[in-house]
Symmetry: C2
Subunit: 214 residues, 2 copies
């Protein structure tokens, strides 16, 4: 019975996601659905990406959180259009939440829209919001056993950003194990090793992103 | 409409949780529902706790994961009864999942049952499973902004275990900020600072746990 309900919700969601997708395409904006567990560094990655690309691309951001406005405040300091969604308890963004805020963004002026999902390694991967691609982060401090325990997000994502690699010497995690198990789930997955704290590896990620948009 | 569905599910869940609760009480077993984001160190904390307490208490474990048996394998190495639940996609344990595996544990012989929930800082806090208390972990590597962004788990938990404090010098996180914002949500919250890697702080947590059970 619970499964039936979820199917119903997912069908309705996919219909709205397709409408969002159409609007994004008509507006000429490339859309990334950015997902991770809490604290993997999504907002920091967005900040770094904006700093690197703002001379080249017009970027907008949608911030998704259960509660609070911290992330939108951080992004608005960079003078890009940003909208905060508070889900009020829901553990993921869905297509309808996105649809409701699109009027608050200058879509036709944007080249890239980054949607920061709620911090959760599970549910966000189930809900399309109209994005071109899903991108996920994994903090090296979360350990190397995540791909096999939370497979769906790894399967659904086009890129995996391994963040906080500056912490690698202080953990027991193996990047090789993460790579191997991630690629066993999704052999097309593009993997980047970065540190949003030190800036290491950000250049490669940003270059790949540019290649998708232009 | 979505909210209505969730309410219905939660009502059914609470009824089954109360039945589990009754069975736990009759069996004389104290039950902890252990929650956190992915990779905060739940399984490591359980391992440390078993090592410290196994001379004193009979402990059993239920492991909840979307997929995989890694955690149950780790725990079974410690020669305690353990059951693995694979939710097959669901982002949290619910009372019915727990009810279905209780026949596989020697409940009457146990003093303490630790239920490791799916790694998720959101949904597990919404679903009672029949526990005496909820305990949550937060890895210091997740940053200090989590209490205000994911308030429900902090509100529902009796104890917050700040894990991986050995990484503190390598992060920008402030323990004071976490403490302040956690206590603003839940002034009764008991906070422990530990490192499952170095063993620091485990003694205080274990002593507190013993005081609850005996």
């Amino acid at each position: 019975m619970k499964v039936k309900v979820v199917t119903h919700i997912l069908e309705a969601n996919d219909r709205i996601a397709a409408e969002n997708r159409k609007l994004f395409k008509e507006s000429g904006v490339y859309v990334i659905n950015l997902m991770s567990a809490p604290g993997a560094g999504k907002t920091s990655l967005i900040e770094k990406t904006i700093r690197e690309l703002s001379g080249d691309l017009k970027i907008g951001v949608i911030e998704g959180d259960i509660a609070g406005f911290d992330d939108a405040r951080r992004i608005s300091n960079l003078n890009v259009p940003v909208v905060q969604i508070n889900t009020g308890g829901a553990c993921h963004l869905d297509a309808n939440m996105i649809s409701e805020v699109l009027g608050d963004l200058p879509l036709k002026e944007l080249d890239l829209l980054i949607i920061e999902n709620v911090g959760n390694l599970v549910c966000p991967a189930e809900f399309k919001v109209g994005e071109n691609i899903k991108v996920m982060l994994l903090s090296i401090a979360e350990g190397d056993d995540k791909p096999l325990k939370y497979p769906l997000m790894f399967e659904e994502s086009s890129a995996l950003i391994l963040n906080k690699i500056d912490l690698l010497p202080h953990t027991n995690a193996s990047i090789e194990k993460i790579r191997k198990n991630s690629l066993s789930l999704n052999r097309k997955l593009k993997i980047f090793e970065v540190s949003c704290r030190t800036g290491e590896g950000i250049g490669k990620w940003v270059k790949w992103l540019q290649s998708l948009i232009k």
